[in-house]
């Protein structure tokens, strides 16, 4: 069952793009319903929270890895919505398509922009114009630049990787691995030991990440960003001049963390600003699905129930994630090495 879901997701050839979208509200039928604590998105698995707890940085009293990190390895997903709309996570994606917002704005999850207080990214005027131009053209992308990069299987990058499908955290001596459906990130735990970033000329979809633990908080400095991944379907973005400081603040019981990231880019923003994305850990009480808890039970008779995540291969399977803008099939030879 889970496997077949996975296969549908992994292959996704010829599947209408809309059928892949994991976090669609149940369209107009749900709009205007009475308030509930959370709403179930289509695709299952995730309860769409409209508010979430703040988590304070502080000491970590829970279990630890052999090398002393807070033990947080496991499967996680954000709790509010996907990359359709950065500043209104349960609102519309651009283009006014069939998706209705989840109730009036005051009842939907807050903007992911937690600073400034108005919930807007403080773009410089020219950058705002670029973002708006993308949003205007998203649903009918007449130029390659208007195709949302995830629709082409590009890595989701920072911070979009935390607002799309579920993901896994794996911990090792000196390293934390984030394994996404659209790529991977290694956080080198040398941020407090003078760990050096890559030379400036190297720009990467996921940047270069050096971090360290401060109590319950993983603090990561992300440099060498190429800015290409965008933040989602509204075209929000940073440039290759951006640096990001991420704080993964884990709840004392290990059941949640808040991703709090400050973006600095004088060529795009009038001032640094901060995004907050709530994330929940999945447990055996959650029902596996093909999106946010994309796992299946291991075949291990007589052992405690354990979950595994299969490979998720995108470009090779023509599995781009569209939602309005359709991916473009790959050409032939791309490298000469």
């Amino acid at each position: 069952m889970t496997k077949s879901l996975l296969v549908v997701a992994a292959l996704a050839v010829a599947t209408p793009v809309v059928a892949q979208a994991p976090e669609q509200p149940a369209a107009a039928a749900n709009a205007g319903q009475q308030a509930r604590p959370a709403r179930q998105g289509q695709g299952g698995g995730i309860n769409r929270e409209r508010s979430f707890p703040a988590i304070a940085s502080g000491p970590w009293k829970g279990p630890r890895t052999a090398d002393g990190q807070p033990l947080v390895a496991g499967f996680y997903s954000n709790t509010i919505g996907n990359h359709s709309n950065f500043t209104d996570p349960q609102g519309r994606q651009p283009g006014g398509n069939e998706r209705a917002p989840l109730g009036p704005r005051s009842e939907r999850a807050p903007s992911r922009v937690s600073d400034p207080a108005d919930g807007e990214i403080p773009y410089l005027p020219a950058a705002r114009a670029l973002q708006q131009d993308f949003a205007k053209n998203f649903s009918d992308p007449v130029k390659p630049r208007y195709v949302e990069p995830l629709a082409r299987c590009a890595p989701a990058g920072v911070p979009k990787s935390y607002m799309w499908h579920g993901f896994e955290i794996r911990q090792y001596k000196g390293e934390v691995l984030f394994w996404f459906d659209s790529g991977w990130r290694l956080i080198h735990l040398d941020g407090d030991k003078g760990g050096k970033s890559l030379p400036e000329a190297i720009k990467l979809w996921n940047g270069d990440s050096h971090g360290h633990w401060e109590g319950n908080t993983l603090v990561v400095n992300v440099t060498n960003n190429n800015g290409k991944a965008l933040f989602g379907r509204q075209g929000d973005f940073m440039s290759e001049n951006a640096t990001v400081v991420e704080r993964y603040i884990f709840q004392p019981d290990g059941k949640r963390f808040n991703y709090v990231a400050t973006f600095t880019d004088p060529t795009v923003y009038a001032r640094p600003w901060t995004a907050t994305i709530p994330v929940r850990r999945f447990t055996a009480q959650d029902k596996p699905d093909g999106w946010h808890f994309d796992v299946h039970a291991a075949n291990a008779p007589a052992k405690p129930l354990a979950y595994e995540h299969d490979e998720r291969i995108c470009a090779e399977n023509n599995g781009g994630f569209g939602g309005g803008a359709v991916g473009v099939p790959g050409a032939g030879v791309l490298i000469a090495r």
């Binding site: 496997k3 390659p144 050096k196 996921n206 290409k228 995108c314 790959g330 030879v333 791309l334």
Partner: protein, 266 residues
């Protein structure tokens, strides 16, 4: 006695520039000196954590070949000398060889599969925990998990995975990994050598010394080969100062210059 024979064979192999003879199919014993020097995990098993890369020419062509425009010469890494193709399969391989400069999936930066990702000449990082090894390859988007927690292959196989279903166990200081449930999309090298979705690979990972892994893989595929065959390559620890992986999502090249909000100029 056994050890000195092995050492002799290894020296001969190194001198001749070829893999060790096929007779070495039985698990090799690690010499006492090597056993004492290799890194080990908390359970005392070998710890393969680190960044590895082959120096071999295996990815150009697993079989013996003279130099040619797109490959340096190599005595090959197939212990049997050549791959024991069934007649129809050999014909197909010959056709693939002819189209290799445009049809090799590597040219699109596709997942290289098992075992090719291991001897493709780019670094990969092994991250080892009690329950599994995770292989993160620099090239493309390839993350392979080798489970070694006693779990089994799934009951039902779908033959759709690019990196297969990987279940391993220890035999002394050798990690023996059984790989099945693969698709038939990947090639074995740049020369068009191939397999079907019936491919079954048994990998054997062991240390030669603390900075060198001996990687052996036995490939069986009743649709393509007349009998199982084995390759052996060495993997060298990348010891360059501050060396680490740099993402190489080269399948994005086709469109990368259109972002963020650009018109195709880098």
């Amino acid at each position: 006695m056994r050890q000195s024979t092995l050492k002799g064979a290894l020296v001969l192999a190194l001198l001749a520039g070829v893999a060790a003879p096929a007779g070495a199919a039985a698990p090799r014993k690690t010499s006492a000196a090597v056993a004492a020097a290799i890194p080990r995990d908390a359970q005392g098993h070998p710890d393969f954590s680190g960044i590895w890369q082959t120096l071999s020419e295996a990815d150009y062509d697993l079989e013996p070949h003279a130099d040619r425009r797109d490959a340096p010469p190599s005595a090959g890494v197939v212990e049997e000398g050549t791959i024991p193709y069934l007649p129809a399969a050999l014909e197909r391989r010959t056709k693939r060889f002819a189209t290799r400069t445009t049809e090799d999936p590597r040219l699109k930066c596709y997942v290289l599969g098992v075992p090719r990702g291991v001897y493709y000449p780019a670094p990969f990082q092994i991250l080892q925990r009690d329950e599994d090894l995770t292989l993160v390859h620099q090239f493309g988007n390839q993350v392979r998990v080798i489970h070694k927690d006693g779990s089994l292959h799934p009951e039902e196989l779908h033959k759709e995975l690019w990196l297969g279903d990987n279940r391993a166990h220890w035999e002394g200081d050798t990690l023996v990994n059984d790989v099945t449930d693969v698709n038939d999309e990947t090639w074995l090298d740049r020369a068009g050598n191939y397999h079907s979705e019936e491919l079954h690979v048994v990998e054997r990972w062991s240390f030669v010394d603390k900075d060198t892994i001996r990687y052996r893989a036995t490939l069986d595929d009743p649709k393509v080969y007349s009998r199982p065959w084995t390759i052996e390559v060495l993997l060298n620890r990348r010891r360059d100062a501050n060396f680490r992986l740099i993402e190489d999502y080269c399948y994005t090249f086709e469109y990368a210059d259109h972002y963020p909000h650009k018109d195709g100029q880098p």
